[in-house]
């Protein structure tokens, strides 16, 4: 579509003035920061580079503190998109003048980046168990001076887990992250914690988040449940039951949503409860 030239110019000018306002704001905040040296500092401008965190912030009533998110964060509508979680735009980050950046891991957002984004602290959010998620929620509540709400959320989530009913036997599980090549959830994946919370156990005892394993190994491990996620990592896989090499696999094949299971956030607690239902032979197909 063609745009009239003056229209286009208007657009860029509003863009520029917006940027100017932001930079001025940033300046003011930096000045304020310089004056205020007290320990009762609460973070006010947050950039979330790890989408699983946003729902937690929203629960803590901190939605309006989120000034920037990644492209794939759909929980927050109004914040500036700063790029992908692996490659956020440093200029945009600086322009947003955040005082806190929440990133997934050192690998995604190295410490050195801190120096390139002025005046911002970094919080790494990488829990691998449900308990660690709760701990992180408390920590974030602390940092934002919203301890009460954090505590309330933690209680609610714990209560949610009470819905999990005991199982007659501990079902064994293999969780497929990606079909081709076959990647499964290892010990450092939140999935392992979800599975054990739901009363099962992950058969893959490899000290990593994901492991590429041989399909032979899957047959040998003989899981009761073969859970395969569907989502960005595993778009539209061939259902395991239809794969010739799993012909002799006697497992129950369960399809789950990647966004619900593989992300260590509030959703993980619902996932555990749902999985428990599946194990019980209730709520699934």
């Amino acid at each position: 579509m063609m745009q009239k030239p003056e229209h286009g110019r208007n657009m860029t000018e509003t863009g520029k003035s917006r940027l100017l306002i932001k930079m001025m704001l940033a300046g003011i905040i930096i000045c304020l920061a310089a004056f205020d040296g007290s320990s009762a500092w609460a973070y006010k401008r947050i950039v979330v580079l790890y989408p699983a965190v946003s729902p937690i912030l929203i629960e803590l009533g901190a939605l309006d503190m989120i000034v920037g998110t990644t492209r794939s964060d759909h929980a927050v509508k109004d914040a500036v998109k700063v790029g992908s979680h692996l490659r956020p735009n440093i200029e945009l980050l600086n322009a947003l003048a955040p005082d806190l950046i929440i990133a997934g891991s050192q690998r995604a957002f190295p410490r050195e980046m801190e120096q390139r984004v002025k005046a911002a602290d970094i919080l790494y959010y990488n829990p691998v168990t449900l308990d660690e998620i709760l701990a992180k929620i408390r920590k974030i509540g602390d940092m934002l001076e919203r301890r009460d709400r954090a505590e309330k959320l933690v209680l609610r989530l714990k209560k949610r887990l009470e819905d999990i009913r005991p199982l007659p036997a501990e079902p064994s599980v293999i969780y497929e992250v990606m079909a081709e090549p076959l990647r499964v959830a290892g010990e450092k994946s939140i999935v392992t914690s979800i599975v054990s919370a739901a009363g099962g156990r992950n058969l893959v005892k490899i000290d990593r988040k994901h492991a590429v394993i041989s399909t032979e190994k899957v047959l040998q491990l003989r899981p009761d449940f073969y859970i395969y996620q569907v989502g960005p990592m595993n778009k539209n896989p061939v259902p395991p039951g239809e794969r010739p090499f799993y012909k002799s696999l006697k497992a129950e094949f369960v399809k789950v949503d990647e966004l619900e299971f593989a992300r260590p956030g509030i959703n993980a607690f619902d996932a555990a409860v749902n999985l428990n239902r599946i194990f019980l032979g209730a709520g699934h197909e």
């Binding site: 990606m178 090549p181 041989s214 399909t215 190994k217 040998q220 539209n236 010739p244 002799s248």
Partner: protein, 316 residues
Amino acid sequence: MRIILPAALVLAFIAAVSAGAVKIDFFSMSEMERNILFDVRLPRVVLAGLVGAALALSGVLFQYVMKNPLADSFTTGVSASSAMGAVIAIMLGLMPYIPLFALAGGIAGLYLVYRIASYRGRIQPITMLLAGIVLSTFASATISFMKFLSDDAVSSIIFWLMGGFQAATPLKDLILFAVICFSFLSVRGDYLKLDILCFDDTTASSTGVDVNRLRKKLFFAAALLTAFSVGYAGIIGFVGLIIPHILRLGNLVKASYLLPASLTGGAAFMMATDLVARTILQGGQELPVGVITSSIGGVFFLYLLIKRRKELFYFN
């Protein structure tokens, strides 16, 4: 060499079948072991062998077409454009159709290179090489762009591209076998012509070889082999380049030896490297097979290069 290669093939096959993530007691197999052997391991070993054979043969054919020892499915752009097709399939979430997309991408790439490189109905090897390299670069850039677009699917694309034989099925084995048979049989009657093609074009055509027609045929056969290999096993580098080189350094320079030898050599090499890829780590973990092909193959090739510099010098 005539005994060594078939022996290597048999040995590699036996080794590849007998070892794996799960130890199988061949003398008293349990139900599970039997399932693992027949449903998983055998199809996989066979696929590895077939892909190795296809890649090595396509490398040899491309080298004849281009008159250049550096030619293989990468330098001709067929590999990258097949991969581009596969990545589009991944992007669209059409996993079961990856081989089809790879084939379509490969053939599109082949057609493009072919059109660019033919002038007045004749293929110009140098233009073809250049066009292939440009296409490769373009396809890689497109893949990078698609990776960028689908942030979340990045790792699935990367891991798919690294290649592997995990998803082997008897049907894939059968199809690839048919493709190899078709390609091989279509060039098998041309051994003497292939040797003559190593001369300059004037000499070759005045000796009675229809150089242009032969090139087209070879190019098509090689591209077909590449596209199917990429579709079934991702991009596995280096095989099409080093296997033919190693064989030539072993004095298999005539097409009548080189072509069958590249089939057996490629198959043996790939079965062996896949064996390493799936057994080197603990707990049933696997390495991408491309890592092994490039490292083992690369080191061995370097050794040969240094040892037999003289022959290589007289290659051209």
